[in-house]
């Protein structure tokens, strides 16, 4: 599973993140290899989401470095990180509630569109061609994720599982190199989880997208992930293949609890 020849895409080194006196992440380092599915697991409040927030520039760690594609990344704002090809979904759905499904997916193309204000103003020539071209691309993604039937529904009224899928579609529309998924299967029933897992694998295999995901369902993680990082109270407990992690004593203790 772990292929030594694979290139490292992203590496986080000795990240420390504090909010006032609260330590959210303490000295965490791991890497993400190109083309793999990397899972981050841990109990609630372990700092998983904070870790994703650090990766996409929403939080700025007090200490630590982020290396992306062999270069040290300077401190960036989230919109700059998005330009480097990192997309994400959210734990609590963060769709644009005032828009329809197709419009939401189109927002993912925002960065690829670049025709200037004056073409936009007249919606003519290059601007409309661009719009049509990206619309085509979005329709393909909608097709891929099997959400054609809700294309024109306002997202606010969709059931939870579909909203999650639209969010994935939006992230895919960005054509990211690294896709961060924050609990993509939270609150889903078994069937929906199966669908979602299938999509994640398809994305990874068909588009070659590198994926880092946070998930609580261990069965899913063990099936999907190539390698797993375990966090607990902001510290790193283990890093390795699902098998290795599963048999790691510290991890078992953290999940089952030990007598102190």
């Amino acid at each position: 599973m772990v292929n030594e020849q694979k290139k490292v895409m992203m590496e986080v080194k000795n990240i420390n993140l504090r909010f006032g006196g609260v330590i959210a992440i303490q000295d965490v380092s791991f890497d993400i290899q190109e083309g793999e599915i990397r899972a981050i697991i841990g109990p609630n409040g372990a700092g998983k989401s904070s870790m994703l927030n650090v990766i996409n520039g929403f939080y700025h760690p007090q200490e630590g470095e982020i290396w992306f594609r062999g270069e040290k990344r300077p401190s960036m704002e989230p919109y700059e990180v998005a330009k480097t090809g990192i997309a994400r979904t959210f734990q609590n759905i963060a769709l644009f509630k005032g828009m329809t499904t197709i419009e939401n997916v189109m927002t993912g193309r925002q960065l690829q569109m670049n025709k200037n204000f004056f073409w936009q103003l007249f919606r003519y020539g290059p601007a409309i061609e661009e719009e049509v071209e990206h619309r085509k691309r979005c329709e393909e993604i909608i097709d891929f994720l099997e959400i054609n039937h809700i294309r024109k529904s306002p997202v606010g009224s969709l059931p939870y599982g579909l909203q999650k899928r639209v969010e994935l579609a939006r992230a895919l529309a960005m054509e990211p190199e690294l896709l961060l998924l924050d609990e993509p299967m939270a609150g889903m029933n078994v069937e929906e989880k199966q669908d979602m897992s299938r999509f994640i694998i398809d994305v990874n295999e068909e588009f070659g997208t590198t994926i880092a995901l946070i998930e609580h369902d261990m069965a899913v993680v063990m099936d999907l992930a190539d390698r797993v990082v375990v966090l607990d109270y902001g510290k790193m407990l283990a890093d390795g293949t699902p098998k290795e992690v599963q048999s790691n004593q510290a991890v078992i203790d953290a999940y089952l609890g030990v007598a102190h």
Binding site: Y79, A87, A94, F96, G108, Q110, F117, Q120, L121, E131
Partner: protein, 362 residues
């Protein structure tokens, strides 16, 4: 099934991206255009004199629709609240006056457009706080703009050319031998100038809103954090919304003084007017261009007509009617908020939905 999409297939994305993809909508627009361009200018409105129809109903409502468009772009599409609308209209009016004074030979219409650009700059400056704050906090920041600008309109005599009256006095302007502004201009000319602006500005607004920039505004409105993580730069998105919106508001301010009132003092730009424009947007429908038309018509035309009928038909005192319409406006607003917070535009949409299925409700 009066109103239906079925059977109207689109084979190209381009067709579906058109402004009015559905045939029935096109008919509706044609009827509205016929009314606005031909029927009302010729016959006026029933029960009202032609002069009154033009100068107290049609010209202002067209101008206020432009204002409402501007405010709706900011509030309805970009989600940034502003209570400084009236003051920004003032910026448009005073800058138009200054431009006309400095370049006396410049065409009046170009002056109006330029004053829109000036207002866009001023609006962007007062939009800067939106980068740090939102919601009610931003509202207070825009109040700062409102009160500061009101003060400036009084205390900086340069703005009104040191006129003793302290007011803008509209100069005489003509184009192709037709008098555009000043006391001698025909109401019909002024009406068509305003209507022309409205049509062009509506078209431009609908273009921008359906494209990349409009989407970035709506992203910021709906979920600013997610928008940023997708790559929208809040600075650009918010400030462009302020600029674009202020451009509209500035143009409407210039039109209001030069093509409707004929003279203006600071009272035309006070905070109560800002509230009225806010009402137009809310009653019409946040985030809807059609709604801007509904809102301006309901908030402006209905009270004016009521007042006029009240006076001529029932002989009611103007003071009483004035207060009655103020109360009515408040009541309508409350009812709209309770029944359908998305305003008349949404009610219209629901009605269309019903027509789509009629006479079979399911």
């Amino acid at each position: 099934m009066y109103f239906r999409e079925t059977g109207q297939f689109k084979s190209k994305y381009k067709e579906e991206l058109a402004a009015f993809p559905i045939f029935e909508d096109k008919i509706g627009i044609a009827i509205a255009a016929l009314l606005a361009f031909v029927l009302i200018p010729i016959f006026g409105l029933p029960g009202l004199s032609w002069d009154f129809t033009m100068s107290a109903v049609m010209i202002p409502v067209v101008i206020f629709t432009i204002t409402t468009l501007g405010l709706n772009i900011l509030l309805g599409f970009a989600g940034q609240i502003s209570l400084g609308t009236a003051a920004f209209m003032g910026v448009g009016a005073y800058s138009c006056y200054k431009i006309m004074t400095i370049f006396p030979d410049l065409n009046a219409l170009i002056c109006v457009v330029l004053s829109g650009i000036v207002t866009a700059f001023v609006g962007t400056i007062f939009g800067l706080p939106s980068l740090r704050i939102k919601g009610f906090y931003l509202m207070v920041a825009t109040l700062a703009a409102q009160f500061f600008l009101e003060w400036a309109f009084i205390r900086i005599p340069w703005l009104y050319n040191y006129n003793i009256s302290g007011a803008i006095e509209v100069p005489y302007k003509e184009m192709f031998g037709i008098v555009l502004t000043g006391a001698k201009s025909e109401p019909l000319t002024r009406y068509f100038v305003c209507l022309g602006f409205l049509v062009v500005l509506t078209w431009l607004a609908s273009n921008v809103i359906r494209g990349r920039i409009g989407r970035s505004w709506m992203m910021i409105r709906d979920m600013d954090i997610a928008a940023e993580l997708i790559g929208v730069r809040p600075l650009t998105a918010k400030l462009s919304a302020f600029a674009f919106s202020s451009f509209y508001i500035g143009i409407s301010g210039a039109l209001m003084v030069f093509f409707w009132l004929g003279a203006a003092e600071v009272e035309s730009f006070d905070i109560n007017h800002s509230f009225t424009y806010l009402f137009m947007v809310i009653i019409g429908g946040l985030g809807s261009i059609t709604g801007c038309y509904f809102g301006a018509i309901l908030v402006w035309v209905v009270p004016v007509i009521l007042k006029e009928y009240g006076k001529s038909v029932f002989g009611i005192d103007a003071f009483v009617m004035e207060n009655f319409t103020t109360i009515l406006l408040g009541v309508v607003m409350v009812v709209i908020l309770i029944v359908e917070p998305h305003g008349l535009a949404r009610i219209w949409q629901i009605a269309k939905q019903k027509l789509r299925l009629w006479p079979f409700p399911y």
